[in-house]
């Protein structure tokens, strides 16, 4: 058995980028700050040194034209990896993304492809407020022609980014900032992860849970606690938002009869709404309890940690929702204690010293 190789997610992203660039000369990296000393949270480390500024391109603050430039070059056969330090900056490029990027394949009668990757980082850190920590997952998932992925584990970051780069379609990668420092086993070799079909990552009996991003980690942390209570669940890592393949979820629900979907973004018109609707439309009769979605309330992200507390989901709120789906009215006191955390709401761990 090969030895484990522990990397952080940002190291995995960095490694994947280097591999792809070595393998294929047409891959280039472009974005505001890609050559900064901060190296986009470490993910662009050493790129310029290895590949020179010809292939690792710092740009003016002009997101829309930058995106169009990437699209044009991709239609001509290059493979841009565009990076937005905040997903929010991609809002300025929506015209190019919605029109040229997503529609070129369709409107060219399948002649043009736009093999382009857009990494967008979701800024959760010290209270960055309503214009620097949006999620926008279902906004992008609503644009036909884009693939939209949202990896959680370092291993997946590597494999999915490599797949995204290889894919002939535009792929949006939503990276939750707090996942960059998560550690995990990452194989050394070049490998591709599926970016067309989500996977079940845990097997159980009592309910089906669908989650992604940072929430997914919290669900996993609940696993042990729930096991002590003899509760087990099917868990889907919703790391592919588009194409949204829900057959496996539906099959799972047919078995468990209970479903909780946890949205990283707004609950309103979130991916969860689509999943619950599909379940209701296909196998409503198998449900033993009402389906449940949780997600962000329908207001902009507040900056203050005092407000962030009731804005973001946390283990406790997830646990309550699980029990609700299971028709167990109250959390047992000891459960509630077990999940108590001494980590403030606005940091992923105690080593985090802000601001981003």
């Amino acid at each position: 058995m090969p030895k484990k190789r522990i990397l952080t997610a940002s190291q995995a992203i960095n490694e994947a980028t280097i591999m792809a660039m070595k393998k294929d000369n047409s891959v280039y990296v472009i974005g505001e700050g890609v050559n900064d000393p901060k190296e986009i949270f470490g993910t662009t480390k050493n790129l310029k040194k290895i590949f020179t500024s010809k292939r690792v391109i710092e740009t003016p603050i002009s997101e829309n034209a930058m995106t169009g430039l990437c699209i044009g070059s991709a239609m001509m056969g290059l493979k841009p990896i565009q990076i937005h330090q905040r997903v929010d900056f991609a809002i300025l490029a929506l015209e190019q993304i919605i029109n040229n990027c997503a529609k070129a394949f369709f409107v060219s009668n399948s002649k043009h492809t736009v093999p382009m990757v857009i990494r967008m980082i979701i800024g959760r850190g010290w209270g960055q407020g309503p214009m620097h920590s949006q999620i926008l997952d279902s906004l992008f998932a609503q644009i036909p022609g884009l693939k939209v992925i949202m990896p959680t584990f370092p291993k997946d970051f590597k494999g999915m980014i490599l797949s995204a780069i290889k894919d002939r379609n535009p792929v949006v990668i939503l990276e939750h900032r707090w996942l960059h420092n998560i550690k995990g086993d990452v194989p050394k070799k070049y490998y591709l992860n599926n970016i067309n079909k989500i996977k079940k990552i845990n097997n159980g009996h009592d309910l089906t849970i669908v989650a992604n991003g940072y929430n997914l980690l919290e669900v996993i942390e609940l696993k042990k606690i729930l096991k002590d209570e003899k509760i087990s669940f099917d868990l889907f890592d919703l790391n592919i938002l588009q194409p949204l393949e829900t057959n496996a979820i539906i099959n799972s629900v047919k078995k468990t009869g209970r479903i909780l979907v946890i949205d990283s973004g707004f609950k309103n018109l979130g991916i969860g709404s689509e999943i619950i609707s599909r379940i209701s439309e296909t196998c409503m009769e198998k449900l033993k309890s009402k389906p449940l979605r949780i997600g962000l309330p329908f207001v902009p992200t507040p900056s203050s940690r005092f407000l962030a507390k009731s804005y973001y989901l946390n283990k406790k709120r997830i646990l309550i929702s699980i029990l609700q789906v299971l028709n167990k009215k109250k959390i047992k006191n000891n459960l509630s204690k077990k999940i108590k955390s001494n980590i403030p709401i606005d940091v992923p761990d105690l080593s985090f010293k802000g601001p981003f």
Binding site: Y28, K54, T59, P60, S62, N64, A65, M66, T67, G68, L69, C70, I71, G72, S73, A74, M75, M76, G77, L78, E95, Q96, N99, N100, A104, F105, F106, V107, S108, N109, S110, K111, H112, T113, P144, G145, K147, R168, N169, P243
Partner: protein, 321 residues
């Protein structure tokens, strides 16, 4: 200087475009070309003059008014006409309609109806040439209103600071739909703007195809050689309504004198004069060409109109490559 042979070629290109557009204008009322159309009648010299100096690997991008660009760059006319009729063998399989013409083999990268949207895409094509050390250029055709969209400036900036082989060609027909340029832009902005970005900028008569071909030849060669973007601004005029097959002079949004002036300066007439006075073609042969083109293209329209839609059903269209 453009040779006699090339002068003739330019004439045939122009005549072809004019003929096809006139037939669209006539046949539009049959209500079988069911998509918006933006005719270039009166403005064709620019497309023809510039594209005369391009090869198949050079790329162009265009906008809503793309027929002339498409044809001048060598786009397949039958595929274009089929696209107007919504047929499956249209250049975009009926998916796009008249504002989405493209022909991959001929270097027609993209035409899109969102004003200015194709500009950065053209810059990206230029980027790919430089990246791959190709000696090709990308030409970006825009109207005078395109410079009102922010992405235009962002794109100038990229083309300049990345030193890309890109030629901006701005066709100033004074109007954005019904609105005069004076209502939309500070005086002479359009003349000054590319210079502010440090680009070589040229002003040409947009209705003189030969002159355009001549002058742009040098410009294009220089771009190929130096990987530096340049900008050509050309004055011209649209003869028919903004969108649709008719004249709309009765609406009085344009000055009668202005209209008269520009009609007299018709690029086709101008070119015919040159051909006759330089004894390249006789008046009667010109007449014959006009007639034979009309006949030939009318047949093609007739064909396309009759052809059945044979394409993929929508349900089978793939969203992903």
């Amino acid at each position: 200087m453009i040779s006699k042979k090339n002068t003739k070629k330019i004439y045939f290109d122009l005549l072809k475009i004019r003929t096809i557009e006139e037939i669209i204008s006539e046949r539009y009322k049959e209500q079988e070309m069911r998509c918006p159309i933006h005719l270039s009648i009166g403005q064709e010299a620019i497309a023809v003059g510039i594209c005369h100096n391009l090869n198949n690997y050079d790329q162009i991008v265009s906008n809503h008014r793309c027929h002339a660009h498409y044809l001048a760059k060598g786009g397949d006319e039958k595929k274009m006409i089929n696209e107007f009729y919504g047929n499956s063998d249209g250049c975009s399989g009926g998916r796009g309609g008249s504002m989405h013409l493209f022909d991959q083999k001929k270097g027609i990268l993209s035409s899109v109806p969102i004003v200015s949207s194709s500009i950065p895409v053209g810059v990206g094509a230029g980027f790919s040439f430089k990246y791959n050390k190709k000696k090709n250029i990308a030409v970006i055709f825009i109207g005078d209103a395109a410079i009102e969209e922010g992405v235009f400036y962002e794109s100038l900036n990229y083309a300049k600071i990345f030193s890309l082989p890109v030629l901006f060609v701005c066709e100033n027909n004074l109007f954005s739909c019904f609105t005069n340029i004076n209502e939309r832009q500070p005086k002479n902005l359009i003349k000054k703007i590319s210079k502010s970005f440090g680009m070589k900028t040229h002003f040409l008569n947009g209705n003189n195809a030969i002159q355009i071909a001549n002058k742009s030849k040098k410009i294009i060669e220089e771009i190929r050689l130096k990987n530096e973007p340049q900008f050509i601004l050309l004055d011209t005029y649209r003869v028919l309504e903004h969108c649709g097959p008719y004249e709309d002079d009765h609406l009085n949004y344009r000055n009668k004198k202005e209209i008269k002036y520009w009609k007299e300066n018709c690029p086709l007439k101008k070119l015919e004069k040159i051909l006759v006075s330089n004894k390249i073609l006789s008046k009667s042969s010109l007449r014959n060409y006009r007639l034979s083109y009309k006949k030939k293209y009318n047949l093609i329209f007739e064909d396309c109109k009759k052809s059945k839609f044979l394409g993929t059903k929508l349900n089978n269209i793939k969203l992903y490559a």
